[in-house]
Symmetry: C2
Subunit: 135 residues, 2 copies
């Protein structure tokens, strides 16, 4: 049965269950930072997924990316599967701006997380109401 690594429960918030992935947001207002986690057991690398699941992962990734590009007016998207610390397969999608705290460096390890306040969380959810479920 699919289980989420405890680090995701601790550091991110549930947004939606898509056909393949769970969509979560990193609990860090420094960046609009979303994570897709395939709801499959014991996956570590992208190539551990079946070809069919991989195609679905990329559909969901493109769907999320297009939304981030438009709704967050990102200067650049960072899309990455690293997993050195949390091996459970997950794909980061981060909207980056020239004025963000880590620019132009990658975000990892750059600045302490700034958790969402209740108001910020409600604003985020309002924005994400426009995000449809990908097929």
């Amino acid at each position: 049965m699919f289980e989420l690594a405890p680090e995701f429960e601790r550091d991110s918030l549930w947004l939606a269950d898509w056909p393949l992935c769970q969509l979560r947001v990193q609990n860090d207002t420094n960046y609009p930072w979303f994570i897709l986690i395939p709801r499959r057991v014991a996956m570590v690398e992208i190539i551990d997924l079946t070809e069919q699941d991989r195609a679905q992962l990329w559909r969901e990734s493109a769907h999320l990316s297009m939304f981030l590009k438009v709704a967050f007016q990102a200067k650049k998207l960072n899309v990455a599967a690293l997993g050195n610390m949390v091996p459970q397969l997950h794909l980061h999608h981060i909207a980056r701006y020239e004025h963000d705290i880590a620019w132009p460096a990658p975000v990892w390890g750059k600045a302490p997380a700034q958790p969402y306040t209740e108001t910020q969380w409600q604003q985020l959810k309002q924005k994400l109401a426009l995000l449809t479920i990908p097929s």
Copy 2:
């Protein structure tokens, strides 16, 4: 016409032209670090590619990833499209080890590049002779 950003000419070495991407290796022996650059004009985000090109990108990425996993016995693969500094669309594929100089952090900005010596370069090319061209 497809042109390579000058940073790639400076920091990486040509290995092969695949159906969609140019395959290059970062000139840094700290890590087995490969880069796929779609040979298309004016692409910045993965979602800038046509759906067909995107499917081909992921085929080539999976082909390279499977090779890295086996031939380099990587503990973990890092697959990432960042592009904050060099906007031309490119996809990093880095074989990571618990004993590498940046582990478990991402590699970017961690350690000065250690360029390949002639001997190391010949050894790399010998290893890569096993890497077929993906369909």
